[in-house]
Subunit: 365 residues, 2 copies
């Protein structure tokens, strides 16, 4: 009589943040791969590239030029997805058409988009930056969040949420390898965030506790999915992870947003990001691609909305087996449900066992 | 005084099937692209490749070999994501742990996975196949659906849904260019399908009408998003499309599943698929990658579930600007909400204007 084995038998796990299921097929990692190969990012770019739109002092794509910045540098995205001003879309745009009002719901959206250069050096990435430099990055996020909140309050700008994120590596659609992230600020709370806030609210209502508070408690008790932790944060492969080595950095106690970070919390976030990304790079000895971003309180949140917000970051890295073989979330995943080829616990163990102190390129020196 | 212009101003559109929003930034298509380039698939592969696991008569990856098939050929996936038999996961797996029962929901999932070779010829794709050959493909889907439903009924197999899909092209994770699709049959209704069924049910309850019935009516009235149509089906870029040239093929009247198709409906589906995919290939004169799949009634559905099902197919093609430049759904899309760079109406117009009769390779001859 064989027992159910999570590392060998298919199962579905529920994601309480997004209210959806994912299919885990742990035996499937064994199949051969004959498909697309990624190009691992060359780690031998120059420190300054005169053709890079983001390097200090250089001209940008649409005209302006960058100052000779020495730390982080934030500017308005030259190809912003949303604009601060645009004509108003009449509220009754669909008129009295009953079907259109039911099926073609639309709303105008204004906002602002920023690029955040992490470093003046063209050829570094987060795991290769000094702890102090990473504190500056967290500080830049904090300042941007505060500035946008202030602008919204004082100038009656309708900004509601700022989504801070980084696309790292060509495999994740990054078109310039100079270390940078982005921030898209909208007058609407984006779908993913609004779904999470809805789940937090429902959980609080039903259980009189914070979903992520209970989550932290449970992960600390089980420990099998924890990758690293420090005083303020822990990094886990969530039980319901979709991407092969997906992780979440969560604050151990409730912090609503980056705006509330103390100096030591900024330092703790910088250090956990550094350790995690060194582990990522060391896994396949390559610059590990990912999309990552911050989830936190909406700008100027009050009451229940503020109460329900709990700072965390998601890291979505696509690589599965090597520097060149990624996981594709395609046919079944898009039409059916996300599917993964190893368990969250297996991924966490692998990440836990990797060196998080010394980057593989340093060892080559 | 400037008017709101959907082709120039940012807006959000609501997807009533998935109950989520997408951000449309139509002015953004203008930005330069310096990122990853796809490798367009070479259209000069041989008709028979002795190293292909799917060609007639060849050995497969795990041992067995293919018959010398002459039309379509279905076999069990050698690396199935789900298996027909596996040990039972105890229902009270989490015991009395309150937090685990709330946050770590899990269920076992059995099922079966199939590969469907569309043609014995290694070097063709749907747009290059004869209408009659495509009718055979639709026939193979119908037979598979019926067989699985029968097996479930007669052998008390717990199969509930079969997700039929195709990943075409290396950009969509396809690891073998021999024309083929897949079918994953599960004892659970996958998240996406179950969300759609939930939306259909809610719509019916609120409006005493079928969501897709009203949708067909509205699109036929507006016409601006229709790409092609015939007696049974229409192909539209849905109002809430995410992928640049995403389309839906929808039956004009309610057909619950492929099982109900008459001969002429099979023929109509074959012909609309052929026209659509010729247009796709003609757009950038390349083998246009996509993931596509069928959404329909669960196996052996009855009552409300059957009543609410309405056959349709989704096509999710990644290309945006050329044969080598795709849209990446990454940072903002994964953490915030999907974002697109042209309107559904612009995409539909472009597809409408393309030749859907003669494939570009035929013109080169
Ligand atoms: O089954 P295949 O073709 O080997 O694999 C492909 O399709 C599957 C179903 O969408 C995905 O899970 C894989 O990531 C993808 O590479
Ligand atoms: O803004 P970038 O870096 O040019 O573009 C990248 O990130 C955006 C936000 O996730 C995506 O919409 C684009 O598809 C991607 O290529």
């Amino acid at each position: 009589h064989q027992e159910f084995d999570f590392t060998d038998h298919s199962h579905r796990r529920y994601n309480p943040l997004t209210d959806s299921w994912i299919l885990v097929s742990p035996h499937r990692a064994k199949r051969p791969w004959l498909g697309q190969q990624e190009t691992p990012s060359r780690p031998n770019a120059p420190e300054y590239d005169d053709k890079c739109f983001l390097c200090p002092g250089n001209h940008r794509a649409t005209g302006g030029s960058n100052p000779k910045y020495e730390s982080t540098y934030i500017f308005q995205n030259d190809y912003a997805a949303v604009k601060t001003e645009q004509p108003t879309l009449p509220e009754n745009y669909n008129g009295k058409d009953v079907l259109k009002n039911r099926l073609f719901k639309v709303e105008s959206v204004r906002g602002n988009c920023f690029v955040i250069c992490f470093s003046p050096k063209h050829n570094v990435t987060i795991p290769q930056m000094e702890h102090g430099e990473l504190i500056n990055v967290v500080g830049a996020w904090q300042k941007l969040y505060n500035d946008l909140a202030k602008e919204a309050r004082e100038n009656e700008k309708p900004f509601k949420y700022v989504q801070i994120f980084e696309n790292k590596g060509t495999a994740m659609g990054c078109s310039n390898l100079h270390p940078h992230g982005q921030a898209w600020c909208l007058e609407a709370i984006p779908s993913e965030v609004s779904q999470e806030l809805k789940s937090f609210k429902k959980y609080k209502h039903e259980n009189h506790a914070d979903l992520l508070g209970d989550f932290v408690k449970l992960e600390l008790q089980e420990r099998s999915r924890i990758v690293i932790e420090n005083d303020t944060f822990m990094c886990v492969v969530p039980y319901w992870a979709v991407w092969p080595f997906e992780t979440m950095i969560v604050s151990k106690t409730k912090i609503a947003s980056v705006a509330q970070f103390t100096e030591s919390q900024k330092s703790d976030l910088a250090s956990i990001m550094k350790t995690l990304t060194i582990k990522y790079d060391n896994m396949f000895e390559c610059s590990f691609p990912y999309s990552m971003g911050l989830h936190q309180a909406p700008l100027n949140a009050t009451g229940e909305e503020l109460e329900n917000s709990w700072f965390h970051m998601h890291f979505y890295p696509p690589l599965l087996r090597s520097a060149t073989v990624r996981k594709f979330l395609v046919g079944f995943e898009l039409l059916g449900e996300p599917q993964r080829d190893l368990t969250a616990e297996q991924a966490a163990q692998r990440l836990r066992n990797l060196d998080g102190e010394v980057h593989y390129l340093e060892k080559l020196d």
